[in-house]
């Protein structure tokens, strides 16, 4: 099985530790992933701004970088969702179709391709799980409160399998954090307010470590946590599952 590691542009630049944790976690689970250095970005920032035509060369670069692999795995539901859903405006060559179908969000890959349901390890902390909308509603990685009161999902299961880890029960389990890509600056006021409300829910319910499967939401929430100087550590779930120690 030939697996490529997809490290989204902002993770590459700002959160290299998340890329490293992803690579190491996959290795522990028996997968040696390769990082094709031709990769840059999925093109979502342009497309969400109404400029998807400008993103076409970026889409082609993505496909060129990854077409030689069986699977493409990235620690970011939103970027994966973009590749799967919105690469429909370029010519659907076999390479494009192959890449679109086989690009996986990290935890989706672990559970559904590797068939691994629990990861040994210990993380004795109260952990608040932020469900990212594109992973949850887009890639169906978790139940939605719009459909059912049962709170279940891939990351919830994997995290619960760790020793000593206690998940925070939030008042609003799956409300959007307000990042929204370029929304975070074009609607900065609402974006910040949404993030502040999300963080307040975690504070109210005792979260000490705020985590999730999408670093973009976490980057936004971390920005709010640090501005308010709150005693909450923000980290990607790959770091926790890779055995991070606080």
């Amino acid at each position: 099985m030939k697996v490529a590691l997809f490290v989204p542009c902002y993770v590459d630049q700002f959160y290299p530790q998340v890329g490293i944790a992803t690579l190491q976690l996959l290795e522990k689970l028996g997968v040696r992933a390769n990082f094709p250095k031709q990769q840059t970005c999925c093109g979502q920032p342009m497309a969400n701004s109404g400029c998807e035509r400008d993103a076409i060369p970026v889409y082609h670069n993505f496909v060129d970088a990854f077409e030689g692999y069986d699977y493409v795995v990235g620690p970011a539901g939103s970027c994966v969702y973009h590749v799967r859903k919105h690469f429909d405006i370029i010519d659907q060559t076999p390479a494009v179709q192959h890449v679109r179908t086989n690009t996986y969000e990290l935890f989706d890959f672990i559970l559904n391709i590797l068939g691994i349901n629990e990861i040994p390890g210990s993380f004795p902390h109260k952990v608040g799980l932020h469900l990212s909308c594109h992973g949850q509603r887009g890639l169906h990685q978790a139940n939605e409160s719009e459909m059912t009161p049962v709170r279940d999902g891939q990351l919830r299961r994997l995290l619960s399998s760790m020793q000593g880890l206690e998940l925070t029960e939030l008042d609003r389990n799956d409300e959007c954090c307000g990042f929204g890509g370029t929304f975070c600056v074009s609607e900065a006021g609402i974006s910040a307010r949404m993030g502040q409300d999300r963080v307040a829910d975690h504070v109210r319910n005792g979260t000490r470590v705020l985590t999730g499967g999408d670093m973009s939401c976490l980057m936004h929430l971390e920005g709010i946590v640090r501005r308010a100087k709150l005693p909450i550590k923000v980290m990607h779930a790959a770091e926790i599952l890779n055995g991070a120690v606080l």
Partner: protein, 455 residues
């Protein structure tokens, strides 16, 4: 002003924003309870969606069938191409009956057509009889929600309004007393009215009847007391058969307020003896929307308001921030069809979280349409120039791995070296108004990875 600018005004009152968010979230939770208690709810959504898709695909046929059956029942049917024609038709009917006193039950269509100001200009005393609508009419405001038109107001605001217009005691904010005052005030208007105007929730093609859903019973009271009933409907309100209605009555209020059904579901099929009934069918841009394959499904909307209650943006920006008759996510996909330039910022007033799509009882792919409107606006040049050029530049960088590698390194290192005050300048960095920027690391992932390979 853009949606973002209007939102900033709403956000200035942080406490009120919290209250608005929590009030609507409470309605969303009531909706959730009703949905969880209905095991076949997802099947009902699919059925409702299929019925609406089918009807829209044969709208010309069902419109004619409806007209024919309505005429057979003794109902007079009128066709209006746009808002102005709709208003003219209503006014001419009023003139025929020398009517100057009109009561109106809730109708988003007449709001869309701005019927009230038109009638008032022509000397007609038109009174909204839905309590929320009456409150905002007294305040000369637009509705901020399709089901809860005065949801932006607190009881204190209503107390002040009634003190000013209906002579209640100053500072009396007791909801029961205020409602009783409105009841007495409206009763006089009902008794004096010559014509009753109503909206239409559903028009049944096979029977030629219209169905109006209210909780206050004001449509029934108005219609039964007046000599003439004028029902105004958008042409997308049709359903083929009476039996289809049961699907919609089951999902409409569960989605809207969490009730199993509205208190009143009134069928108006023909005029009572000695009275008249008219139906005005309005296009006003709907045919154009029907002709846009990507956006056609927006016409399936049954105006339940669930997408507003669930939208994390709407709850924190208020209905008036959309500056369109239908606010919230559904308004953001309907409005550019009417005036692309004026409403260009609305499809961007969303994080594309997709919750609207998941609560929509007729399965409109709202967040996908928001994304598609963004592309239409981008190509039509209706996005800010700064955004357009920065995205073009970004694309140049991201399409070339070498340029990206070097450019991002320079940007990251600058961020590391520049003082905090400079990188977090609130005047030019909207991110930094309420958030810290990420702390840039010494090495990017790709730099780290290249080092590993050398080792």
């Amino acid at each position: 002003m853009s949606h973002s600018q209007r939102s900033d005004i709403f956000l200035l009152d942080a406490e009120r924003t919290t209250w608005h968010d929590e009030t609507l979230w409470f309605v969303r939770q009531k909706r959730d309870k009703a949905v969880y208690a209905t095991p076949e709810f997802q099947e009902l959504r699919q059925l409702a969606s299929d019925i609406k898709d089918h009807t829209l695909s044969r709208l010309d046929f069902y419109l004619q069938q409806f007209e024919e059956n309505a005429r057979r029942n003794g109902v007079q049917v009128h066709w209006a191409a746009d808002a102005h024609e709709h208003n003219q038709i209503v006014l001419s009917l009023l003139k025929q009956h020398n009517a100057t006193r009109v009561v109106k039950s809730k109708s988003m269509l007449t709001e869309e057509c701005h019927l009230n100001p038109y009638l008032i200009k022509h000397g007609v005393d038109v009174i909204d009889t839905d309590l929320g609508e009456r409150i905002i009419q007294l305040r000369d405001e637009a509705p901020s929600h399709v089901v809860l038109p005065a949801i932006h107001l607190k009881k204190e605001d209503v107390g002040d309004t009634f003190h000013l217009h209906l002579g209640t005691e100053k500072g009396n904010n007791d909801p029961q007393q205020l409602t009783e005052t409105a009841r007495q005030h409206l009763r006089e208007k009902f008794l004096a009215s010559e014509v009753a105007i109503s909206g239409v929730n559903f028009a049944v093609a096979e029977t030629g009847s219209v169905v109006v859903c209210t909780n206050e019973g004001n449509a029934d009271l108005g219609v039964n007391l007046a000599k003439v009933h004028i029902a105004c409907m958008g042409m997308e309100k049709l359903i083929p058969r009476l039996s289809d209605l049961s699907v919609f009555t089951r999902i409409l209020t569960r989605s809207a307020t969490g009730q199993p059904i509205t208190t009143y579901t009134s069928h108006f099929s023909k005029p009572a003896e000695g009275k008249e009934m008219h139906v005005v069918i309005v296009d006003n841009g709907r045919t154009k929307q029907l002709g846009r394959p990507d956006f056609r499904a927006s016409l399936k909307c049954i105006r339940c308001g669930a997408c507003m209650n669930t939208c994390p943006v709407y709850r924190r920006s208020g209905g008036h921030s959309y500056d369109f008759t239908i606010p919230g996510p559904i308004g953001a996909i309907l409005s550019p069809n009417i005036d692309m330039r004026k409403h260009a910022s609305l499809p961007f007033a969303s994080t594309l979280c997709g919750s609207c799509t998941d609560v929509c009882p007729v399965k409109i792919d709202i967040h996908t349409q928001l994304y598609k409107w963004r592309q239409v606006l981008g190509q039509a040049g209706e996005i800010p120039a700064s955004k357009k050029w920065s995205m073009r530049l970004l694309s140049r960088v991201l399409a070339k791995p070498a340029v990206y590698g070097l450019g991002s390194k320079i940007a990251r290192q600058s961020l590391r070296l520049l003082p905090h005050g400079l990188t977090h300048g609130k005047g030019y960095n909207p991110w930094a108004v309420a958030r810290e920027l990420p702390e840039p690391p010494k090495q990017s992932f790709r730099e780290w990875y290249a080092q590993q390979a050398v080792k």
